[in-house]
């Protein structure tokens, strides 16, 4: 369905463009509205009809810079997501490399088992793990969250990384192997650099998913290790909540996602739609 240039703009094209614009508006408006609200005064937020055009007010953003609950939560979110990404990529790469390069007894079953494990509802683990985490003093710690998140995300990472390793011709690695490189040297010098784009996309996705994670963070943290989504969810139910502050905090939560979506747009369709997303 390639279309040629210089063709007349038909009614059909018009309907197509108009529908796309409507979809775009529907998709982005709630997000835009959220961001806009963080620049409103209290009066503008509760204005009826809603204030669409207004002079931006940065008070809420200035309040964010002052010491407050957000600072700790932001730090926790960054640390948790970073550690999770590093550990998940390391553990995931080891397994993905094995699944990509070796034929071993039970390998296919093991891969199915790993992919199937993430179809178990995580909340089911909470009943048992909450007792365990309390006993092991891992409740309300970043370490505890990182362990849970790594388990949550390692199956997707393995799935995507295996595809990345599959894309590197084995001959290159074998050549290095024959030239006297050890297996791990060949892996490090040949395979990893060539699979780097796939590894990077996987890392970005893992980072975003752990950055957004809510269920475990909500149930396993109470104060010290609270992440931004938990901070937001707890504030939203409170009486007399300041919506400008809350939406400014929510915008902070969105910024990395905006960046990743724009940076990795090229890979969004090709890399992530293999059915293993989420």
């Amino acid at each position: 369905m390639t279309r040629s240039f210089g063709r007349a703009f038909t009614l059909r094209d018009f309907v197509r463009v108009a529908s796309l614009m409507t979809l775009l508006l529907f998709s982005l408006m709630p997000i835009l509205w959220l961001v806009m609200t963080s620049f409103k005064t209290r009066l503008q937020i509760f204005a009826s009809p809603p204030a669409v055009l207004f002079y931006p007010n940065v008070d809420a953003w200035l309040r964010l810079l002052q010491p407050g609950p957000l600072r700790q939560a932001l730090l926790n979110s960054i640390m948790t997501a970073t550690y999770t990404t590093i550990i998940t990529i390391v553990i995931g790469s080891l397994a993905a490399y094995a699944f990509s390069r070796f034929k071993f007894r039970g390998g296919a079953t093991l891969l199915f088992g790993i992919l199937a494990a993430r179809l178990l509802p995580p909340i089911n683990s909470v009943v048992v793990l909450y007792l365990l985490a309390t006993r092991l003093q891992l409740a309300d710690t970043i370490l505890g969250l990182v362990i849970l998140y790594t388990a949550l995300l390692v199956p997707i990472a393995i799935w995507l990384l295996r595809t990345a390793f599959d894309g590197v011709p084995k001959e290159l690695e074998e050549a290095a192997f024959i030239d006297g490189c050890g297996r791990f040297q060949a892996l490090w010098k040949i395979t990893v650099p060539l699979a780097a784009p796939g590894i990077a996309v996987t890392a970005l996705l893992v980072f975003i998913l752990s950055w957004n994670e809510f269920l475990f963070a909500y149930l396993f943290t109470s104060s010290k290790a609270t992440t931004i989504p938990v901070l937001l969810a707890k504030a939203v139910g409170e009486f007399g909540v300041d919506w400008a502050d809350l939406t400014a905090q929510a915008t902070v939560l969105l910024i990395p996602v905006f960046i990743v979506c724009l940076v990795a747009q090229r890979h969004l369709i090709s890399g992530l739609s293999g059915g293993a997303l989420k």
Binding site: M1, T2, L20, L23, L24, L28, I31, L34, I45, F46, P49, P50, G92, L94, A95, A98, R101, F102, F104, A108, L110, F112, G113, L115, A116, L119, L120, P121, I123, S125, V126, V127, V128, L129, I147, A151, P155, F165, D166, P169, K170, E173, N212, F214, L215, Y218, P229, L232, A233, W243, A250, L253, L254, F258, C261, L262, Q265, L268, L272, G275
Partner: protein, 304 residues
């Protein structure tokens, strides 16, 4: 599945150490999953047969299937949430399929100039569901919400979206449709890209209409992608938690409680471990049915 090549196919000539290598490489991931998901699931099934308190987990009484019987016969909270969860799953699935399919058809083929558009349309799916719930909370507000303002143009009086059980359910369903439709678009776009252009060219030579092209080429060839979406989305929608916590908190009353929220309530509010565990096992069975369907489907794909 096209593998880039698996070398060292014969193990007999190699040392035992070499043969053990793949197992060693897979072990960290496998053991972690075993500890965090597999073991707790089984332990949970066992714990669901006991009556025990979170405040005193060591002193339980074995009650067999009593917790399950109680869930279905004595707790309106559970049955109401079961109905809501199923309603939510089915309606949001159908709505996001339709919306996602339309978006995918409009966006296909994705070329350089449309790439940014695709990235923007995918945003709702990638942002935190908590932020999504919070953002839509502003839209559903009674006095200052955008929804009532826009409905005002149609002459509809302001509605108390989040204070009325039916409207709150509808608000949750619309919000989730908005959030999950991009995933459908993403998968279906990949499916559309795989359909050869020759089929459309041949159909056009035969004088097929656009509708006939859609009905007899696009839709049948898109079916595998659609079933992937249906199975995945069903599994993940059944366990909804974050979006509802941020949007309605499960309210008004308990009208928008999903099974996940019920489990939370039993465990962290009533400290009733047995009932929480039983709720989790029912959630597992609901999702498990679809998970098995998925595994069968992917096994078939792997073989072909």
């Amino acid at each position: 599945m096209n593998s880039g090549g698996r070398y060292l196919p014969r193990w007999r000539g190699r040392s035992a150490k070499e043969a053990a290598l793949p197992y060693v490489l897979v072990a960290p991931a496998a053991l972690l999953l075993l500890a965090i998901f597999v073991y707790p699931t089984f332990e949970n099934a066992w714990l669901s047969l006991w009556s025990w308190k979170l405040t005193n987990p060591n002193r339980g009484v074995f009650v067999g299937l009593d917790n399950y019987i109680q869930l279905f016969t004595q707790t309106e909270l559970f049955t109401q949430a079961l109905v809501f969860t199923l309603l939510y799953t089915i309606t949001t699935l159908v709505a996001s399929l339709i919306l996602g399919l339309i978006a995918a058809l409009l966006l296909h083929p994705v070329n350089l100039s449309r790439r940014l558009l695709v990235a923007l349309l995918l945003l709702p799916y990638f942002i935190s569901p908590v932020a999504a719930g919070l953002g839509w909370g502003l839209i559903w507000g009674r006095e200052f919400g955008l929804a009532n303002y826009l409905l005002g143009y149609a002459g509809i009086e302001p509605l108390s979206w989040l204070a009325d059980p039916t409207l709150a359910s509808l608000a949750v369903i619309i919000t989730e449709t908005w959030r999950s439709a991009p995933f459908v678009t993403l998968v279906l776009l990949a499916g559309l890209t795989a359909i050869p252009d020759e089929l459309y060219e041949a159909a056009r030579l035969d004088g097929a209409t656009t509708w006939q092209e859609f009905r007899y080429i696009t839709l049948p060839l898109l079916m595998p992608s659609i079933s992937v979406v249906v199975i995945f989305e069903t599994i993940f929608k059944l366990r909804v938690f974050d979006l509802i916590v941020a949007l309605t908190g499960g309210g008004p009353g308990t009208s928008t409680h999903s099974l996940g929220l019920v489990l939370y309530r039993f465990y962290f509010r009533y400290f009733d471990g047995g009932m929480a565990a039983a709720t989790g096992i029912i959630l597992l069975f609901l999702g498990g049915t679809f998970a098995l369907a998925y595994l069968r489907l992917s096994r078939v794909e792997e073989r072909s």
